[in-house]
Symmetry: D2
Amino acid sequence: MATAPHPRAPAVAVIGAGQATPAEQHTAQRVGFLLAEAGVTVVTGGLGGVMAAACAGARQAGGLTVGILPGTRHDDANPNVVVSIPTGLGEARNALVVRAAHAVIAVGGEYGTLSEIALALKAAMPVVGLGTWELHRDGTADSGIIPAADAADAVRLALEQVRGT
Amino acid sequence: MATAPHPRAPAVAVIGAGQATPAEQHTAQRVGFLLAEAGVTVVTGGLGGVMAAACAGARQAGGLTVGILPGTRHDDANPNVVVSIPTGLGEARNALVVRAAHAVIAVGGEYGTLSEIALALKAAMPVVGLGTWELHRDGTADSGIIPAADAADAVRLALEQVRGT
Amino acid sequence: MATAPHPRAPAVAVIGAGQATPAEQHTAQRVGFLLAEAGVTVVTGGLGGVMAAACAGARQAGGLTVGILPGTRHDDANPNVVVSIPTGLGEARNALVVRAAHAVIAVGGEYGTLSEIALALKAAMPVVGLGTWELHRDGTADSGIIPAADAADAVRLALEQVRGT
Amino acid sequence: MATAPHPRAPAVAVIGAGQATPAEQHTAQRVGFLLAEAGVTVVTGGLGGVMAAACAGARQAGGLTVGILPGTRHDDANPNVVVSIPTGLGEARNALVVRAAHAVIAVGGEYGTLSEIALALKAAMPVVGLGTWELHRDGTADSGIIPAADAADAVRLALEQVRGT
């Protein structure tokens, strides 16, 4: 067992809705591409929309993609998921998408994405947002989500966080 | 096996932070009391703050309380949890708190509560809010959370939803 | 919040197949009845066969029953489940059935029951067996499962374990 | 999004104890090597013993390894896990190890391994055994586990099952 320790790449989760606008998909694809180019593993929920676009971008850069699926079928994964993890946990798998990463980039997103943002912030994991939810309490904006201007800015901010920790 | 079918009571989850203000605890206790008085089982995450106050209120009315715990120890449950479910799932148990109920009442709350609100809305389960998160997308307020004026109003709104479905 | 701490009852899981023989169902019903009579909460996987029979027996003695379901529907629970917990975790919920209890009584059982026996033994939780799996390693019988002669013996052995710890 | 669909490799889970004998570790390493050589992704529970040996073997053949961890820390993974999935589910993650694969090879093993064997058989997934548990019901041997003579035989049997389905 003389194999040298394998340097695992850091992982960033790209989260967003399974039904996304063309602009959101374009952004997610660019985010996936830039993460893979930086040697980062791209984790998603494995389905369509933002998830599929992020995986497609990462594969274009030759990167590794992980899809943490709600159901029990490998075939539910989008075609650019290299490692499919069919959890069978339903939406409880959202906690695992977050845990599998070192930082999160949210692109748009519906309620499922909001749950992932909240679980990441609860775990003190950095969350970078691109056109995603804005959170308020008692009329005051919550500062948990780090806003990004575009895909490149989001990847830069996420990598800063991953490398800083 | 001639036992008559047992009419299971509907269940409402009372969600909120483990560290809560006296006002939030007072509200949660009142919510728990009124739910139990209406014959509803009170589900919580089983720990302190809003969760403990809601259970205490429900027990004062002689009600049934369920605590769905993140850890593996029954003893983590607050003293007014009648049925403790130590899941060992960590924050992934938030999905189970929601699934165990027919409607959700959020009292205040931090990021963990936000994840439960999001998971409930994702599952199209009614969420009534008392001084909790306000959600915005693209500068527009999201209308998913039904706002309540006080504990009695929250319970009335939740029961309307439970009985309407 | 002056409510006196509620003394939570100990819980015993009764595990076994969803399709069971009349003899297994009769045994499970007797086990459930005797546990409830002893003031113990009966935890099951919430479905039919051994699970339904144990719940029916417990309810005949006026006891509390908890059903930890694989699916997301409260209505999947058998009619004698008082507290239904629809986890949506599929067979991963077997770990939660075990964690919710202080000891386990296995009545007959197929592979799902075997997974619960194994998870209980892994967690060093007492497992009492009635006509259930026999385990061997390297041609030697494993001594993890405590064999019982009948329902009354199984309940006696399980309560000894619960009260001894 | 013109990327060609990525042909995901089939995955085989190698399961066994975190504390294993030198002979078991040697077998597991050989199993991992042969699976990777055949282009199969090796899934394990990500920790030591049989899990570490299988990952080491797979990496020696340049293969892809996935570690589905019970805790929440990436650093719990053995050094030859390429994709670490810290689930935070404790032993409930055993269900996910099984679901992530198309077939299972059990090398030795304690109660945790037994739970994975049982969950795989429950899901009608092929289980090949090398010096692992023998199961009996009513004095009759259960035929669920396919016995293998050695590492090469185990891999051959598992691949037959994966390709046959």
